[in-house]
Symmetry: D4
Subunit: 220 residues, 8 copies
């Protein structure tokens, strides 16, 4: 009654329905995870933005299943992870952007996409990014999470041939509180081809990156 899961989504788009845990009771989220698990056996069921109650209850709720609960990224995965294909790099500008990158990483893992995480390489200390450049260059896609000035994705997009996805984070205060100024800075980037998702939307960045990997690997 309360929900009508889009169980056909994987067929249409290559990416399955995912439970959005915010604004749901823990019971609702766990019930929807179970329903996803039942109706789509091709991959694990995923819930994002899980409150602590869901993170804590997940393992007991699915006895006999592989369950992964990430308290930083606030995700729960039920079912074995597929073997990873493709190569996505997830960068963060600061330490406090890690939860957003965590949501991105867990989503990619659930979708069966390989992901490498490089944290805390913001533009205030540019040499940190430059030291990782060779590793970034050949990725299928690069996800860059940054708060405050949102400058890191612009710098990265000017340096590598991989498609770059900026994720503005709500890390920041004053004019950057809430992440809108950060999102605007990324949208207004002077580096051609940078694309942007909603503030803190590590999930959406992961899905776009996965769709690119699907295209590159010819999966769909």
């Amino acid at each position: 009654g309360f929900a009508e899961l889009d169980t056909d989504r994987r067929r249409r788009t290559g990416v399955p329905e995912v439970v959005y845990g915010e604004g749901k009771t823990p019971e609702q989220t766990l019930r929807l995870l179970a329903e996803l698990r039942r109706t789509d056996p091709r991959g694990p069921a995923l819930a994002t933005r899980c409150p602590p109650a869901v993170l804590d209850a997940a393992r007991d709720a699915f006895p006999g299943e592989a369950v992964a609960a990430d308290p930083v990224g606030r995700t729960v995965t039920v079912g074995a992870l597929p073997p990873p294909v493709g190569d996505v790099v997830a960068l963060t500008a600061g330490t406090t952007d890690l939860p957003v990158a965590g949501e991105c990483r867990a989503t990619l893992a659930a979708l069966g996409v390989g992901v490498r995480l490089v944290a805390d390489v913001g533009v205030a200390g540019l040499h940190r990014l430059l030291g990782h450049l060779d590793a970034i260059r050949d990725a299928d896609a690069v996800v860059v999470a940054a708060g405050m000035d949102g400058a890191l994705p612009s710098v990265v997009a000017g340096l590598v041939p991989a498609p770059v996805i900026g994720v503005p984070t709500s890390v920041g205060y004053g004019v950057a509180a809430g992440g809108l100024a950060t999102a605007a800075a990324m949208l207004a980037s002077c580096s051609p081809g940078l694309v942007v998702v909603n503030v803190d939307n590590g999930f959406g960045a992961a899905v776009h990156a996965a769709k690119i990997v699907h295209r590159v690997r010819g999966d769909r």
Copy 2:
């Protein structure tokens, strides 16, 4: 003196420097086009957001060159277009979004990427989109330009496996004037994986799509 062209950009990112015609005198734009043409013979030189004076003068300014000037998309290309590879579909929600799609199409053409344009299929008459769905589904990437409510990219992203790039346009008035509400609607999409560029930025959407095509075709 007045400019320091980034002639190394194609080597780093796979996409060459492009002249941004807004806020420049016609003389500046034409001079920079000439310099690009001279320093990077691997592809045509491109200028976007050209005022009428540049569109009118371009052909005479480059005698003996293949010159394309598009008054709708406001682009000028100097040099022969490369043979197109890959398959990008550019959709518009309305007739008045065509200039943005035009900028996107000219950019893809200059980058040697194949592009198909489907106009005026906004959600107020949904059957128009559904009639084109088979043609869209297998594209390497889909660019969707829409103004006002910005709903079309969300609907498309829920229907196809291709990566979808939303381009909010400044078409609209009242709360949508300037395109910011439209951009916000796209960023807040309930369809996973939709990514967004700046308002009216057909150019940026094209560059991201080209980078995806480069990855898919293994060019870089």
Copy 3:
């Protein structure tokens, strides 16, 4: 002293005064409900946006009365519901929009208007809406609650002859936090005739729908 109830409102507008529970003490809300009940015996007394303390105390406060308290929609109704006339359909884009649809449903019930609720049919999985279309088409009015991109009311308004009322919800984060971007997307709809109420205002949408039903049924 602290309030001057508009007990004449039903005579003037066909819709009685309703207690707005936010920012009032539980005692104030219960006292005003009692006063409404006393001064207007033609229908039940309604309070919206009730805090838990009012929801919990309502039944005991009105012994011998039919009292309905809805913890999801946060409404309290005191007095028997009138037999429903007319046919309003309330749609939600997602599960988390249910509280807003609940406020709408309780208000229509208190006003004696028939209402059918269809939940979780957002545009990310369009087939869900299309499957319900025949049931929606002939309604006297359609209320559509949606958060995030607010695209669902635009799609509905392009498909049915019934007047459509969009209710932006505060469901969403980042650029959609608070519901203003969602409201703007609905106001800027490319589907003609879509009208909009304030964010989360299921109550206002219900009153407008009831006024339409009154006109259609010739009640006033």
Copy 4:
């Protein structure tokens, strides 16, 4: 090529496709008017937001047709107006809101709905509205166009049983420039059931009113 008219819209929604003249060349608008006229003979073809060039050329472009061009409301109608049914009242708060009411009136006329216009009855001189109240009360719907504080629709919605549609106008300066503050004031109305359309959107208000009239008259 440049447009894909939604010629099926009248069948689906009771209201035909209409040409939006802004951002189109005069040639495009006139060609689309001709196409609408040809494909939908059940009623006149309508274009809104017409630039002077369209208003001037319309009569000559459709020889032998009844053509109405309204320079205040900026509309063009091609084909005989249907006999009006129903009763909609359009109010304006000030003289300068007349263009918006004009767009509303022309749209209703083209849709075959009866409309009465009452101008310049804003709340700074409340007696002006009160003097017209009897005439407003029994309308099928009331459209109220107001700029600046946008207070008039709230006052009207508290006085009559008819459904009230507020149209914020861009009349005003300073904090009201562009009409957004006015729109917000209407959305935040303390009068239950007031619904709102985009700034200056007399067209959309008319379509909603017409859909109500269709319901009341049982046309669809």
Copy 5:
């Protein structure tokens, strides 16, 4: 050390320094009240925006003094109130605007100005205001607190010769959350001469009204 009270303010402006209780520790507020009481014996000391801890402790902190603590308006007054002169009327649109009117009333009382409070006469039920009009007309000044659409001050300013001061309140939600839309509506009023203070600033409205009374009574 932590504060440099403006003990000269009454001499310069006719209105003494007042303690702003927000963001101060209870100890700081009480110490500043004591210092004001000591340095300016011509009238009571006033603190606004007092947290519960200050409201509770005030009476014990000033033994032998007349102390008034208002939990609704969140004010504390230390010292006997002067006999009231002049006549200010404070109106509220709704019940939930009472705290703002309370701050205004306490400030006027501390300044020795007479004040009458009329609550809950918003424009959704216009007859409530009209019934009080004769009492309002001859006031020295009228303060009108309203949230949501902020329409009441405009209506009042069009009806009486007294100077009218609008106080937007933060009562409201969605587009009106925080009170900014309400403030904008008042600033954009179509009623000439309406002036506005900050959201919820009952204190500031009172001070302006008191300065008018001082001018009218020739006190300064």
Copy 6:
């Protein structure tokens, strides 16, 4: 037809109806001036925000009348000015705020209120204001027009017992473009009792000041 002048306004509020010239044709403005002149012989007729065409035509349109047209303040007055009573001081922060002060001065003159203008005394050179302080102190009311930071009214309100009305102007650029930041700064003033009108609304400030003068002089 197109207008319904509020000819009763002077009786109700002490201040007559005034023509708002923006968005009207010159013919409309001149006709309304004539109608005001005819229906209210107790004082001159006033139009504000007049375009050049009205300023130029005014004198010839009213032969035999005293006509004043001010190209800086953009006002036209038809009929002899009443002898001034009361004392209002109008200050400007910069030279470019003069048009707003001009509108204020012309309105006060038409209302029969005495006004003194002191220009260009902004806070960047504070001694300029301090040199005029004695002259300001005893005014019935002080109007302060300022753009950019809007700091001058706060400084004035902290120095004099007269009621102070801030008029934010649209003078400024960047974050101050349009005057909204300036208006916010005045509303958030730390000087108690400062009241604010809309951006560039010299007219509204004048009406409030006149209402104060009426109270002080006991005229009404």
Copy 7:
């Protein structure tokens, strides 16, 4: 793993890396302080925006070190303070701006720069500032923290030859809530040469002032 400290920053910019305590666990902050202390023995390690848990634990976490924890400014310093050079004055407009000035003072102390604090000298009582002017005039730089109207830095910048840095604070409510209006007022200052940092960013203002002192003293 979770962080990549920029231990080279002092060499490049003259100012070392500092721990930003917001959004970090107490353990992370303390570990990073320890790492800074270890890698950069030339000066104390500093953390800003520390939650109570860090302030409480700091002293025990660094036995044998000089540890300073400031609960008002929310800073922790580990290691002996360098002898202060240079002369920076930090002003606040109100008492409630003290936390921001405290962060500034602690940062300057950690950087070895001399600082004098003058509190509560806002423009509502201008004589308070004027009494301190001689002490301010010769500073190497002046930092001015102000909320609400943000007028104080403009007044200061018009009076002294020292470079002035404005720090908007989030002190204020209504239109000033969050500090954005205050920041805009400072950016739009009519006093030439006023520069601005983010809301509540006492840290950033201190670093800029320290860089000026470094230039003046020839340290770097």
Copy 8:
């Protein structure tokens, strides 16, 4: 009458009064330039934001004087430039930011401060900046003008010990139109010590830099 020049400003702040040409008639600007020239013979008179009419007329208006008119930066200087002292570097991210840097350069020149201009070194091609780094490092101050994402000042502030002043420019479109998003990005910089002036305010950045040079050189 229309202006009260602050001829004492140089004595108080070290920087003289400057004419702001926007919103003034050419006659007013030229008259004020003449008055500045007459009252302050210690340096040239400067006007900023001059319309073409002032730029064209300046030379003839001051026969026998050294007059410099810069059509790009829109400045006019009357009187011989002082010999430059100190070393300020002005960077621009793009070619279209040159007018802002031009205003900055002309102001510094008029104030007798040495300035070097480095154009078009934005972060999309980072090597361009890195190639100039040695020249920037030892400046007394660095002014960085950038539009769009505003990332360049953050990158610079992380690389050099000089105090860095960011000037957001109005170069950009969509979310960056008007420069507010750019300004926010700079204020939210993750690079400590970056300070910001208003959008396009090359003048203000120059004055702050000059005040630093005065401190460094011990001039005042």
